[in-house]
């Protein structure tokens, strides 16, 4: 019997170093504006997510995709996101993984503990805050393509298609849990 | 305030075990003594022959004797053993697993520290079903101990006051596993460690104690300095758990402090001399990590100093 639902073993692809190198000179501000908008929108549409964070809603998280030349500093309340070359000191917690794994985690397509066990996800700092964030996100069932495209008004549909294509390219057709 | 002596948790040689209790009967100022193998049913046959003599000597010396039941009962042989224990007349059973309760059917009994009683409702349930003495789980904080003790005034409430703290029980034998033996053919290697086997962290910090299927703390619980507040909290008995040291002297020290012949500081100095090299702990009582030790009521918590042992 072939079980199409079983976990697809093997890690998600990482972004090739050459591509990452080519991205290095890109200006960060436009990216920050777009992602900041996505975060604001998630905040508006998923109040339960922020309730779940409880006392950790004010934590500052540093998120570093290990295969990209920049990183993010994210705060939930008030929702704030900045794109930086290097993570600043003084963050409550730092999370690093490949960009694909981070996207898959955001959408609940992979299990965070499984990524910890396989060492593809590294956590430092306030472990409790990170767990709260992960559990809150997992419950929210975010669809990043929908969240991002909705920022673009009438251009939303083509933006959504482009995002889904890009996601498919980065993550593969699915994450750990195919369906 | 009574003093009670808990059962020997380690695998001592049978003659040594017998002589230990003979001396307790003759010399130790304890009111209650709990006997019997409660950790590993494989060890029981070694002590069985000596139990009648030990019980008789203790009772003749005026001690109340409790017969401890096995902590973890899963095999048929262990169930039978537990059932037989419940049928014994002339001494109360100390229940360490609920398996016993059905066979006891409401007859008077004691409850050991391995039964989960965390609140006044559970304590009242057991009191209503025949419990006359309850030794509370070692991890209970003082606030809970006090609430429970006040809720069951007709039952003697006891706390675990001296000895390495029992922390876990397993179906797996770690002594056998460490010696690369199967549990069924363990050759009783735990007898090599009459005070348990020290377990260190990767950074050589003394941490836990292995005793066959049981895991205990490395630190030695010591509530001598807390005896006053325990008495105010209606605790009626302090339990001393046998270690590989002069337990008669340990009991004398507790009795001296309880009766005002010595103060807590003097008593603690004497305890440290009798059971040397093992740090004290009382963190559980103060709702702190169990390995910590707080001196007196107003003292600060002190972390157990990491002891660098030979690598």
């Amino acid at each position: 019997m072939n079980d199409p639902s079983a976990a697809s073993p093997g890690p998600l692809p990482t972004i090739p170093p050459l591509v990452a190198l080519a991205m290095r000179p890109l200006p960060l501000l436009p990216l920050q504006l777009v992602l900041g908008g996505v975060l604001q929108r998630i905040h508006r549409r998923n109040p339960a997510l922020f309730d779940r964070l409880g006392p950790h809603a004010r934590a500052r998280f540093g998120i570093r995709p290990i295969d990209l030349p920049f990183a993010f500093v994210v705060e939930a309340t008030p929702p704030r996101l900045s794109v930086v070359r290097d993570l600043p000191p003084g963050l409550d917690a730092r999370i690093s993984a490949s960009f694909a794994n981070l996207l898959a985690l955001l959408e609940g397509r992979v299990d965070g503990d499984a990524l910890m066990f396989s060492r593809e996800l590294v956590i430092e700092g306030d472990v409790e805050a990170v767990l709260a964030l992960r559990n809150a996100i997992d419950d929210a069932q975010l669809d990043l393509a929908a969240e991002a495209s909705s920022l673009f008004g009438p251009l939303g549909v083509p933006v959504r298609r482009a995002f889904e294509a890009a996601r498919g390219h980065v993550i593969g057709s699915s994450g750990q849990a195919s369906s | 305030m009574q003093l009670s002596l808990g059962p020997v948790l380690y695998n001592w040689a049978p003659e040594r075990w017998r002589d230990f209790y003979f001396r307790i009967a003759d010399e130790a100022p304890v009111d209650v003594v709990s006997v019997g193998e409660i950790v590993c049913s494989k060890r029981s046959p070694f002590f069985a022959d000596h139990i009648p003599a030990v019980v008789e000597r203790l009772q003749s010396a005026g001690k109340q004797v409790l017969l401890g039941s096995l902590i973890l009962v899963s095999l048929r042989r262990e169930r039978r053993q537990t059932e037989e224990l419940a049928a014994v007349e002339g001494a109360m059973v100390e229940v360490n697993d609920l398996t016993c309760l059905r066979a006891l059917a409401g007859r008077p009994h004691a409850i050991g520290p391995f039964v989960n009683i965390y609140n006044e409702a559970s304590a009242a349930f057991h009191a209503a079903h025949g419990a006359k003495r309850i030794c509370l789980p070692p991890e209970l904080p003082l606030a809970s101990v006090a609430t429970i003790a006040k809720a069951i005034p007709d039952v003697t409430t006891e706390v675990f006051a001296f000895g390495r703290v029992p922390l876990a029980i397993s179906a797996r034998c770690y002594h056998a596993r460490l010696h690369k033996l199967a549990k069924d053919n363990c050759r009783f290697v735990c007898e090599k460690d009459p005070d348990g086997l020290l377990l260190n962290t990767l950074e050589q910090q003394d941490f836990l104690t292995i005793n066959g299927v049981q895991t205990l703390s490395h630190t030695c619980a010591n509530l001598l300095g807390d005896a006053g507040i325990l008495r105010e909290s209606k605790v009626g008995s302090l339990r001393l758990s046998p270690q590989d040291c002069d337990m008669v002297e340990i009991a004398r020290i507790f009795r001296d402090v309880l009766d005002g012949r010595d103060d807590a500081d003097g008593g603690n100095r004497r305890l440290a001399a009798v059971y040397a090299g093992v740090p004290f702990s009382n963190g559980f009582l103060w709702a702190e990590p169990g390995h910590l030790y707080r001196r007196g009521r107003s003292g600060d918590m002190q972390s157990v100093a990491p002891q660098i042992g030979p690598v």
Partner: protein
């Protein structure tokens, strides 16, 4: 057919479990009344009511775990959890504390009651005590028993039995372990947490990642060496007799290959551990066991992809189900 009992730490995970073929889902309130009291996890009263209604609409049952031991002087908090779970329509309550079982049996005599694994009822006498005293209908067996022992218990008990088939494996008898509170002051029995994340640190060193609990170093992993949860029973230690994983390796239970034995032993329900895990875990593991059960039923051979990515240390064990584990 044996029932499949699946974990849910969030309403979304509960929906995933139903989608993947769960017969029943177990979950708890977002406070210290349940034994997976982790940040960001579990159900508010409102979420519980809605989730139970949703599950019932889709033919699935919901078992509410209220399986910590009530704190002295605060027993009402647990009583309220019981009352609220009953009024939300819970199909069964999973309880561990004797006092709470007593309360439930008196106050809600018609409520179905399951004995939690935290109660550590490991033999027919203990199980009979719960069945006779509180009318318990099912017992979740502690993970200290072999399959023949489970068969014996099931034969001798009026109670249904439920056994774990996948996920985190307690090495110590459940509900009787104070290792976590010895190191951190927080325990599964009282606060509903083992190795609380607030007391866990990961430190990147030249030798790899060092994990500590309450200030005690409990493991060190080389850069790409598979890891497990930072629990004491799966840490590396040293003794005069040798060093390494003294209690247990970082592994998860996977009893996929024992399903036939469990059925022959008369087991009523199979339980998947992992209320702290994500939707991806719930979806994949539940679907895996749904397929395995279907294959068992039809007598066909199972050729099921491995659940290895979801296991601690990327490795699995049959645990105490195989007697040599001891």
């Amino acid at each position: 057919m044996m029932e499949l009992i699946c974990p849910a730490g969030t309403p979304a995970a509960l929906r995933s479990a139903i989608d993947a073929g769960a017969d029943a889902i177990y979950c708890g309130f977002n406070d210290e009344t349940n034994a997976r009291n982790f940040p960001g996890l579990n159900f508010s009263r409102d979420e519980m009511r809605k989730s139970i209604a949703l599950a019932h609409g889709r033919g699935a049952r919901v078992l509410v775990a209220i399986n910590t031991f009530p704190r002295a002087s605060a027993v009402e908090l647990w009583h309220r959890a019981v009352d609220d779970a009953v009024s939300a329509g819970a199909d069964a309550l999973i309880l561990a504390d004797i006092g709470l079982m007593d309360y439930t049996a008196r106050r809600h005599p018609n409520q179905r009651l399951h004995v939690s694994v935290q109660a550590a009822a490991a033999n027919p006498d203990a199980i009979a005590f719960y069945a006779e005293t509180f009318g318990a209908k099912r017992v979740v067996l502690p993970r200290v028993l072999s399959v023949p022992e489970i068969a014996e218990i099931t034969r001798e008990s009026a109670c249904e039995t439920e056994v774990f088939v996948f996920g985190g494996l307690c090495v110590m008898a459940e509900g009787r372990c104070s290792l976590s509170s010895y190191a951190t002051g927080k325990s599964p029995n009282m606060q509903g947490v083992c190795s609380p994340p607030s007391h866990v640190t990961y430190e990147q060193t030249a030798d790899g990642t060092k994990s500590s609990l309450g200030g005690f170093a409990i493991n060190r992993f080389a850069v790409s060496e598979p890891a497990g949860y930072p629990t004491l029973c799966k840490g590396r230690f040293s003794t005069a007799q040798g060093a390494g994983y003294i209690f247990e390796d970082p592994v998860s239970l996977d009893a996929t290959t024992l399903l036939r034995g469990m059925r022959n032993a008369g087991v009523t329900a199979l339980k998947i551990e992992g209320r702290q895990r994500g939707r991806a875990y719930v979806e994949s593991v539940v679907r895996h066991f749904r397929h395995a059960l279907a294959a068992l039923e039809s007598g066909s051979e199972t050729d099921i992809a491995s659940l290895k990515p979801f296991t601690e240390g990327q490795a699995s064990t049959l645990g105490a189900y195989r007697k040599t584990w001891r």
